[in-house]
Amino acid sequence: MPQPGSNYAQPSSDGHFGQHGGRFVAETLIHALDELEALYEQAKADPEFQAEFAEDLARFVGRPSPLYFARRLTDRLGGPQIYLKREDLNHTGAHKINNCIGQALLARRMGKPRVIAETGAGQHGVATATVAARFGLECQVYMGSVDIARQALNVYRMKLLGASVVPVNSGSKTLKDALNEALRDWVTHVDDTHYIIGTVAGPHPFPMLVRDFQSVIGQEARSQCLQQMGRLPDTLVACVGGGSNALGLFHPFIDDEAVRLVGVEAAGLGLETGRHAAPLNDGQVGVLHGNKTYLMQDADGQISETHSISAGLDYPGVGPEHSHLKDIGRAEYDAVTDEEALAAFRLLNETEGIMPALESSHAVAWVVREAPRLGAGQIVVINLSGRGDKDIETVAKLDGTTL
């Protein structure tokens, strides 16, 4: 949370972050959103809920995640002191599980026996299937058929966890279409089902509650910086698809105005090619999936197909709070290409013995590129949001190797 007395109080009571956010959904879902919002406000103030959440983060997820000084990477780049927030070490291998634990606890409180989720790369699907098994909930995961073909490992993993994975064949058959289908399921089964949205997007209160559950990342990082270095960092860097790992890191630092916040989008084949997934760098404000935010769209308001080497960043929208932070200038948003991300993926393997997810590799790549412009005394914290095991096949294929 921002510090007490903060001027930054977002969202507004009706779920807006400046001009963004809100609740743009079918009337049928409004009741469920009202119910979720009321229950969440109650849970947030309930010490018992907070204790349950903290307990599961500690014993099931394995928190706190370390803040690790990347000495050899620092030496190699010859610029700032680089620290990695090791969300890759969480159970299931990414930050996604933090939010899933929180929302599963909410589903249980609402007495909803069934959860659904959308997934792109499969990381959020795996995290949802995991908490569903952990809490004894029925679980159905929607996944574009294109993504199912390129993420076979995670698909099978979800099945082993007892979830059913439903292929989505509409539209571009990727993450955005999986979200559409999850919304259709929710509107049909709203009485007994909770929709665990995987990122800081969707209708209010989702962007707020996912942010709050992910803020554990920034809370830990802030106190770890104070403990380990005796001061706050100069720059925080995180990749942005929907933007949940970035907001989780940024949010507790919002009032620390000297701390620079940098979100890194997927420039894909290059921003100038149009084949990317960088709505904050090259998009317009619109409404999709329940919220107003920057989107990749054509002149007629049709949502564009996106491209990124990283399935988790391959999404045409972005969480509305990021759009607001861009508008007010509190955070800045840059982008790196597939090629830069791949080079960073290899560099971190070789210098630190850490295999980052291709998503997180975008944040690393930004630091590699910008290191010469960041002073030697600076402290930079990169959110290493997930591990890269799931991407080995993708990288091997690029290397011309069949596994």
Partner: protein
Amino acid sequence: MSRIGQTLEALRSQQRTALVPFITAGDPHLDATVPALNALVQGGADLLELGVPFSDPEADGPAIQASSERALANGTGLRDVLDCVAEFRAGNDQTPVILMGYLNSVLAMGEGAFATAAAEAGVDGMIIVNLPPEESDSLRGALAKQGIDLILLAAPTTSDERLSAIDRAATGFVYLVSLKGTTGADHISIGEVKQHLARLRARTRLPILVGFGIKDGPTARALGKQADGVVVGAAIVSRMAALSADTDAIPETLRQFAHDLRQALDA
């Protein structure tokens, strides 16, 4: 009073139920849209709903999703949809036309520019499925300036208190979504819809039209006894899709289907 209000009032005084068919503009191609609308009117349609195709129709079931994809594949844009309305209006200044779609299409054109263009084309009302009343003030204002009704939706999950708020904000009529689900769903329960109709009727003096999942004459008739009108969409769009190899046959098929529905309602 708007064309929608006049039409529904006239039907009410004749104790007839409004038949409101839906098709997606540009499906299967743009040249087919105006003949299809005319055929529906000949068959007995009282108002027309014309879908604006959108890339991410999250409230629609498979039939209307597919029709939206077909329309987009042949390049149908919002301007084309308005051109269809203008062409239809040139030959028919009686039957109200309501556009149905998603908010982003309107935002991309700009609310004010859209309202002006829609009024020029002869549009009478708008249904935006992902625009609840809380978020609708600015669009409602822009449309009202041009005399276009923003139709609000009520759902089975809408609380009594909220139904009253919807009534206060609504113009034209209230669209009651018949079921928890997407368009074309196959689990409509006449008994449940009647309960929600009664709940809504107690809270609004506006006409109530019911839609989602109404696929045949008997269902339309059962609901038509209590509703002021019924919307039939997926069942029509599916009949059009089945004629993909023989699109010339679409107008006559639609005329006949509308005629059958009309007879069921009037029986």
